[in-house]
C-alpha cells in the first residue's frame, strides 16, 4: 500500500480534465484508491455468483465465459424492474450542476468522479445496447461497447461513490447517482466483483447477525465491559436483558457501537438512558445489526439481512422497535424495510411508555429513531439534564447523508444536542442539512487499504469542520451514524487533529443526572469533568 501523502499535498487538487476524451482515457488503478477484492468464502456463505480468489490489480479477473451476456441481461432485467434506472438512463442533459457537488470530485478532481460522468460510464453501454439513437449514431450519441476495460472502470468508480445523494439534491430532474451506483454494484456482483470490506461483513451479518461477526456470548461480554465503565463513572450497575421474550421494545443498533470507541460511548449512552427511564426493552443477539452492508451489494442481499429485525420482533413478541444512531441503516429502514419485509401487522404503533407520545410518523413500519425518542423525552421534561457537564466541549453537528437526504431527520438531533450542550456551532450552511457532505467512507468504503480515497472524499467535510474549529474553537464533531463515528475519527486525525468525534447519546448520557448516581468526576471517556477540574484547582 502506498504511503498516505501529507494533508498539504493531498489538498492540492488539479481539476484540469485530461486532454483525451473520457472514452479514450484509460482508467488507471491507483494504490490507496480502491479496496481489496472479495474473498471466495465471503461470497460462498451467502451463495453469491463466481466465488474465487482474485485481486483487482491483476489483469485477469477470472470472469465467467459469458460475462458480457450476464451483464447485458442484468441491465435489461433492472430496466424492467426500476423506473428510476430506466428514467435516469434517458433524461440527463449533462448540464453539469452535479459535478462540483460530489465530495469525491471535489477531493480528487478526477472528472470520472463527477456524478454525471460516473453515470455516463453505464449510460454509454445502455445507449449502445438498448437505444435506437445509440445504435445509429454510436459515439456521437454517447454510446460505446461494453468491454473488460469498461467493466473494470465501472468497478473502480462505483466503489468511489458512497451513495450519499448530494448530487440528487442539485439535479434539476432529481437524478440520483446513488440509485445508479446501487444498480452498477448489483451488476458487478453478478460476476463476483465485490470488495471484501463489504462481502466480509455481509457474510458475517448473514450467519452471526451482525457485520463484525460478534457471536452471542461476545456481544454480552462487550456490553459487560461497558457496564463496568458505566459503574465506574456513575456508581450504578446496569443489568440489560438479551433475547428476552415479552419485552415491550426491541432495541436494534449498528454493531459498530458495540466494538470500538467512540461508538462504544454512544452504546453506553443508550444503556444509561434506558436504565434511567426504566424502559422495558431487550437487546437481541440475532438481530444485532441495524446497519445493512447488503444494501451496498444488491437489493436482494439487503432484504435478506434486513429480514431479521421484523422476524426477531415477532419471535420475542415486542410491541415496537427502537433503533439506534446510524446513517444508512435509517435510509434502509425508512425507504425499504416495510416494503421488503412488512407489513409488520404483529406490532403496535410505537408509543413512548414514558411520555405517552404516539409516533404517528412510524405507524406502518413501527420503528422509531432514538433521536426522535429522546427529543420527545426532553420536550416533555422527562430527563434531568446538566449541560454544564459538557462545557469542556465545543460541538458542531454532522448531518449523516442518509438521515438527511433519505429520511429528513434534521431537527430532532439538533434539539437534543442543544439541550445537552451549551456550546454548539453550525458548520457553513452549504455543508449541512440537505447539503451535508459525506464522511468520504460510506457504503462499505471504510477499509484501511483505500485511505487516500477516504481522506480525499472526506476533504470537504473536514474542511468545513476546520472552519468552525478555527473560528469557534470547536473540538467535537457529533453525529448519529456508526460509520461516521468510525471514519470521521480517522478523517479528523488526518485533517483537523484538534477535533474529536462522538455520538449524540454519549453527550446525552454525560449531561443526564441519574437517580442515585454518585457525584460524577469524569465523562464517559474517563476524562475529568470541567466542574471536577475547577474544584480540584480550588483545592
Amino acid at each position: 500500500m502506498a504511503k498516505l501523502p501529507k494533508p498539504e499535498e493531498l489538498s492540492k487538487i488539479d481539476v484540469t480534465p485530461p486532454k483525451t476524451d473520457w472514452m479514450d482515457t484509460p482508467t488507471v488503478f491507483k494504490d490507496g484508491m480502491y479496496c481489496h477484492g472479495s474473498k471466495t468464502k465471503s461470497l460462498e456463505i451467502v451463495g453469491f455468483p463466481n466465488p474465487r480468489e482474485w485481486r483487482p490489480a491483476d489483469a485477469d479477473w477470472k470472469l465467467p465465459e459469458n460475462w458480457k451476456q450476464i451483464i447485458l441481461e442484468g441491465i435489461a432485467d433492472r430496466l424492467k424492474k426500476y423506473r428510476s434506472f430506466r428514467l435516469f438512463m434517458d433524461i440527463c442533459v449533462r448540464c453539469g450542476a452535479c459535478a462540483d457537488k460530489c465530495h469525491f470530485f471535489i477531493g480528487t478532481g478526477d472528472p470520472k468522479n463527477m456524478p454525471v460522468l460516473r453515470a455516463e460510464l453505464i449510460r454509454s453501454v445502455y445507449r449502445k445496447e438498448f437505444t435506437m439513437a445509440g445504435k445509429i449514431f454510436g459515439r456521437m450519441a454517447g454510446a460505446r461497447e461494453l468491454t473488460v476495460d469498461v467493466l473494470k472502470e465501472w468497478w473502480y468508480y462505483f466503489y468511489q461513490c458512497t451513495e450519499c445523494r448530494r448530487c440528487s439534491v442539485f439535479c434539476p430532474y432529481g437524478i440520483d447517482q446513488a440509485e445508479i451506483t446501487m444498480i452498477g454494484r448489483e451488476l458487478l456482483n453478478l460476476l463476483g466483483l465485490n470488495i471484501e470490506w463489504i462481502a466480509g461483513p455481509v457474510s458475517n451479518c448473514y450467519m452471526k447477525g451482525n457485520h463484525l461477526g460478534l457471536e452471542p456470548h461476545t456481544i454480552v461480554g462487550n456490553l459487560e465491559y461497558m457496564l463496568d465503565d458505566i459503574e465506574t463513572v456513575t456508581g450504578k450497575r446496569i443489568k440489560p436483558t438479551f433475547n428476552r421474550k415479552g419485552a415491550e421494545i426491541l432495541f436494534v443498533t449498528p454493531s459498530g457501537d458495540l466494538f470500538a470507541d467512540p461508538g462504544t460511548y454512544t452504546a453506553m449512552g443508550y444503556l444509561m438512558l434506558f436504565e434511567e427511564l426504566g424502559l422495558d426493552y431487550t437487546w437481541s443477539t440475532y438481530a444485532s445489526e441495524g446497519g445493512n452492508f447488503g444494501f451496498f451489494t444488491s437489493n436482494e442481499m439487503a432484504k435478506r439481512l434486513n429480514s431479521k429485525i421484523y422476524a426477531e420482533a415477532k419471535r420475542l413478541g415486542v410491541k415496537w422497535i427502537l433503533g439506534g444512531e446510524c446513517g444508512h441503516m435509517w435510509r434502509v429502514l425508512t425507504q425499504y424495510m416495510d416494503t421488503w419485509n412488512g407489513p409488520a401487522d404483529f406490532l403496535e404503533v410505537p408509543k413512548s411508555p414514558i411520555t405517552g407520545t404516539v409516533f404517528e410518523n412510524a405507524k406502518s413500519m413501527k420503528m422509531v429513531h432514538v433521536a426522535e425518542f429522546t427529543a420527545d423525552l426532553i420536550k416533555n421534561n422527562k430527563l434531568k439534564l446538566d449541560p454544564k457537564r459538557n462545557d469542556h466541549l465545543k460541538v458542531t453537528w454532522h448531518d449523516s447523508c442518509n438521515v438527511a437526504r433519505g429520511m429528513g431527520m434534521l431537527e430532532e438531533p439538533r434539539y437534543v444536542l442543544k439541550s445537552v450542550v451549551n456550546n454548539f456551532y453550525e458548520m457553513p450552511e452549504d455543508t449541512i442539512r440537505e447539503k451535508t457532505f459525506c464522511c468520504g467512507s460510506g457504503t462499505g468504503l471504510n477499509a484501511s487499504e483505500d485511505m487516500d480515497l477516504r481522506m480525499k472524499g472526506g476533504f470537504p467535510r473536514a474542511n468545513a469542520v476546520k472552519f468552525v474549529a478555527e473560528h469557534h474553537g470547536v473540538n467535537m464533531l457529533a453525529n448519529v451514524c456508526a460509520i461516521d463515528r468510525a471514519t470521521l475519527k480517522a478523517l479528523m486525525e488526518y485533517w483537523v487533529p484538534s477535533v474529536g468525534v462522538c455520538g449524540l447519546h454519549e453527550l446525552v448520557a454525560n449531561a443526564m443526572i441519574m437517580k442515585g448516581e454518585k457525584e460524577r468526576t469524569t465523562d464517559l471517556r474517563g476524562e475529568p469533568l470541567p466542574s471536577a477540574q475547577a474544584k480540584e484547582e480550588k483545592a
Binding site: I13, F85, R86, D90, A97, A133, M140, D376, M409, P428
Partner: protein, 332 residues
C-alpha cells in the same frame, strides 16, 4: 470539434431545406409531408417513451428529502421539501417544473489552495435555463395565432405583454431576444467550463444549434425577410384541419420552409434524445413521491421471497455458547 460537427449538421439541414424549397415541385414535401410526418413521429415517440417508463414499476419509495421530515408535532415539518402528502408532492413538483427549484440551489464549489473551500452563488445556469424554457413556451403559445381563426384573448394578452416595449414595426417580441441570448449562453457555458465541455457530446450541442437555427430563422421571417403571413396562416389552418391548400405554398418565401424544416427535425429528434426530459421530469421518483414510507406501506409489485438465515438456524449454530453466556434459548 463536437460543437463544430453539430453546427455543420444544422447548417446542412438548413441548406437542404433552402435548396429543396427552392425547387417548386418540392414545396409540398417541405410544407406538408415532412411537417406531418415529424409531428406524428413526435407524438408517437413521446407516448412510447412515457409508456416504456411507466411500464417499469417504482419498487421503492425513494424521495430525496431536502427538508425536515414530518415527525413530532412540535417540530416544524417542511411540507414542500420533504412532503408527506400528495398535496405537498404537487407543490414540490410545481416548483421543480415551473421554477427549476433544484437548479436554483446551484453552488460553485471552489477549493482554491485547499485551505478554505468556498461555496459561491451560481445562479446563471438557473436563470438562463429558466429564461430559455419560458421564452420557448411563450413563443410556442404565440404561434397558436396561426392555427386559430379568431385569435383568443389569452394569446393576444401574451403577445401584448411580450411586445410591451412597443419598439419597431412589426412590434418587437422580448422573448425573441431572450431565447437567442439564453441559448447562446448555454452554448458558451458548455464550451467555456472545462468540466462541462468534457462531458458534452455531439448530442448536446446539436439541439442547441438546432433551436438557435429555429429561433434565428423565425426572427428573420418576422423582422427582415418578411413573408406572406396570410398565406402562412391559411396553410397552417389547412394543416391542422387535414386539408392543406397547396396553392398557398407558392406565395410563401423560402426562409419559411427552412424554419419549418428545422422545427420538423427538432420534433423528430425530441423522442430520440435527452430532450425527453420534458416528460421525464414528471416521473422522477426522487421528486414525485411523498416521504411517508414509515406511515404508509409502499408495495413493490415484484417483491419475492428470499433465503434468510432463520433464528432457529442461528440458535442451532450457537446454542451452547448462548447457554454459557446465560442467554435464553428456544430448545434446550
Amino acid at each position: 470539434m463536437k460543437a463544430l460537427v453539430s453546427l455543420i449538421a444544422v447548417l446542412l439541414l438548413a441548406l437542404i431545406a433552402y435548396a429543396g424549397a427552392s425547387v417548386p415541385g418540392m414545396r409540398f414535401m417541405f410544407g406538408v409531408v415532412i411537417p406531418y410526418a415529424a409531428f406524428l413521429f413526435f407524438v408517437i415517440g413521446m407516448v412510447v417513451r412515457v409508456l416504456i417508463w411507466a411500464s417499469s414499476p417504482v419498487p421503492f419509495r425513494i424521495p430525496t428529502t431536502t427538508g425536515q421530515q414530518r415527525s413530532l408535532p412540535w417540530i416544524k415539518h417542511s411540507t414542500i421539501e420533504s412532503p408527506s402528502t400528495g398535496l405537498g408532492v404537487i407543490g414540490r413538483m410545481a416548483l421543480e417544473v415551473l421554477f427549476f427549484r433544484s437548479l436554483f440551489r446551484n453552488l460553485k464549489t471552489q477549493v482554491g489552495d485547499g485551505k478554505q473551500v468556498t461555496y459561491g452563488e451560481a445562479k446563471w445556469l438557473w436563470a438562463a435555463g429558466l429564461a430559455f424554457h419560458w421564452s420557448f413556451l411563450i413563443i410556442l403559445v404565440r404561434h397558436m395565432r396561426f392555427f386559430i381563426e379568431q385569435v383568443p384573448a389569452a394569446i393576444q394578452l401574451i403577445e401584448g405583454l411580450d411586445s410591451f416595449l412597443q419598439v419597431g414595426a412589426p412590434l418587437f417580441y422580448m422573448t425573441d431576444a431572450v431565447i437567442l441570448a439564453s441559448v447562446t449562453y448555454l452554448f458558451i457555458r458548455r464550451i467555456g467550463i472545462p468540466q462541462v465541455k468534457y462531458i458534452s457530446l455531439v448530442a448536446d450541442y446539436f439541439p442547441l444549434f438546432l433551436i438557435l437555427g429555429i429561433a434565428f430563422t423565425g426572427v428573420l421571417l418576422r423582422y427582415f425577410t418578411k413573408t406572406d403571413i396570410v398565406s402562412v396562416k391559411t396553410l397552417a389552418m389547412g394543416l391542422i384541419s387535414f386539408s392543406p391548400d397547396p396553392k398557398m405554398l407558392g406565395n410563401i418565401g423560402v426562409m419559411f420552409f427552412v424554419h419549418l424544416f428545422l422545427l420538423s427535425v427538432l420534433f423528430v429528434y425530441f423522442p430520440l434524445s435527452k430532450l425527453v426530459h420534458m416528460a421525464g421530469v414528471f416521473m422522477s421518483p426522487t421528486r414525485n413521491l411523498a416521504n411517508n414510507s414509515r406511515m404508509k406501506r409502499h408495495v413493490n409489485p415484484w417483491n419475492y421471497p428470499v433465503h434468510v438465515h432463520t433464528y432457529e438456524e442461528y440458535e442451532n449454530d450457537f446454542r451452547e455458547k448462548m447457554k454459557g453466556a446465560g442467554l435464553p434459548v428456544e430448545k434446550e
